[in-house]
Symmetry: C2
Subunit: 315 residues, 2 copies
């Protein structure tokens, strides 16, 4: 079983699940978001808008529609975008996916519906199939999103096989956020040509030799250039150097609540405290925790070059 990967997935190979800034009233802050997207693209990253780290499930349908439109109207190339379009309600998933398709995005990263538990592969197949048929485009690409620790709803290999068989041009890959290497490596082996994105850059060293497509990773928000360098390393030695750099930052950040930590780091390097806001049910880091994390990153010589300049446009 094999699928052919469209060029949009060949470069960039690193996608950031772009963190979403909020206004003081917890509305969407589109200008800051656009500026940050611009910075990420400048650093070599693709934009996995509306991912888990984007607090996407804390955004309404109309907020997601409007924000995607704003980013594209600001001149950022939709071919670099892989928005999250999965939803519990089938009509929402159809509306979001159709919009991403019509906007010319490279594809969509689709969560399964995640309220009902213990659902069958048959029910999940029907959900994905209904979305794909409703969108009805030969040009559009779907990546499945396996994150059972949040959804409780795994994407099984049987489901993947069935979807690839039914929609070989459309269902072209998966983000495996399970962190379960046995699952990632089994998919790489079973589905040649299928674009498998491991949970984090931590697995790239093992996954790239087996044909992994790249990386859609939380810390791509703050170290996109380093992860891109890892992915594009010309030699094993060069790759090892980037792996080391990338890992120390990841380890510091993942010891904290991930989304609040990423936003505090962006706030610091953008010189813009507004970035630290999160929507309930998440809570911002307290200043003690945040200060300790920033000192740790400073000790690693970590920075987000030129972010303050790019971000200043939005303030």
């Amino acid at each position: 079983m094999s699928v052919s990967l469209p060029p949009a997935f060949a470069t960039p190979r690193v996608f950031a699940p772009v963190v979403t800034p909020f206004t003081a009233e917890l509305g969407i802050d589109a200008p800051r978001f656009v500026a940050f997207c611009r910075w990420l693209v400048g650093q070599g990253a693709g934009l996995a808008l509306f991912g888990t780290n984007s607090e996407a499930n804390s955004l309404s349908l109309s907020e997601r529609h409007a924000l995607l439109d704003e980013v594209i109207e600001a001149g950022i190339d939709p071919a670099r975008m892989l928005p999250g379009t999965g939803a519990c309600a089938l009509p929402d998933a159809i509306a979001l996916t159709r919009h991403a398709c019509e906007a010319g995005c490279a594809g969509a990263l689709m969560l399964p519906p995640f309220f009902y538990q213990g659902v069958s592969d048959e029910g999940l197949f029907a959900y994905y199939a209904d979305v794909i048929e409703a969108v009805g485009s030969d040009q559009f690409r779907v990546l499945l999103y396996h994150i059972p620790q949040f959804t409780g709803v795994p994407i099984t290999h049987t489901l993947i096989e069935r979807l690839i068989a039914a929609y070989p041009r459309t269902v072209v890959g998966i983000k495996d956020s399970s962190g379960d290497w046995a699952n990632t490596s089994a998919m790489l082996e079973k589905f040649p040509g299928f674009a498998v994105f491991p949970a984090s850059e931590a697995l790239l060293g093992k996954a790239l030799p087996l044909g992994a497509a790249g990386c859609i990773s939380a810390t791509a928000n703050i170290q996109p250039h380093a992860i891109a360098s890892l992915l594009n390393a010309a030699t094993p030695d060069e790759r090892a150097v980037w792996e080391g750099k990338v890992a120390t930052v990841r380890l510091a950040v993942q010891a904290q609540p991930m989304i609040p930590a990423l936003k505090h780091i962006v706030a610091h390097f953008a010189n813009d405290a507004a970035w630290a806001r999160v929507r309930p049910p998440l809570t911002a880091m307290d200043s003690g925790q945040a200060g300790a994390l920033l000192r740790q990153l400073e000790a690693l010589d970590f920075s987000m070059p030129s972010l303050a300049t790019v971000a200043a446009v939005a303030v």
Copy 2:
């Protein structure tokens, strides 16, 4: 700590999480839904529209808005309604709750946001507080919805205490769908006057003497009169008789996938196969399973009196 329960929660004491019928294209079938609501009210039940058994999380925001409007425009009293208005996205929860409030519903049954896992009580408090403040009505009542086996996000006693302290007139009760009797009984003891609705009618025998408010239960869709009779029994002996009747039906149904089973039973007694449809990710029962369940119910002398007559209006 004590809250005063508004009269709307005193009667009816049994609420059905109304199952939602779909058209052949899987759109909302409002006429069938209205007819079924009318039947439930005639049988003495309140309407917990948009609950778990209603496939509420498989419906879009606009579908839920429109359907609530249709039921009220059809002349069914909103004071008997307790719609589900919780959502992952705060703006959605605000919009749904405000709409239920403006429509004159008895209250709202609010899920916590259920995508992010391991969230803090502080974050959940902020979510509920933001909704209550945004709705901004002294007249509106909120029931919390504890169903951790689906959400992964428990409503802790600490959170309940904090919400009651901040909003004693608004946060007046909880539906405890955990099935964990230790939790239900502890809440009944700790929060006198707080309207605690146990997971199912199976717990009423133990819960009513401790002050339980009533029952919001899956099988209230099919045996509302029997559950109401149980709740209103004048003597322990009378209650025991109804408990026995109610339990045999519940045991037969809960051995099956609950929502498809309820819909098959409604389809059978409404004499209207359209009722059996579910939205993905759920799947309908196969006819073999469904037939066996119906034969089992027949052996129990179970029926849904007058449903076929009421439902015929919608077809």
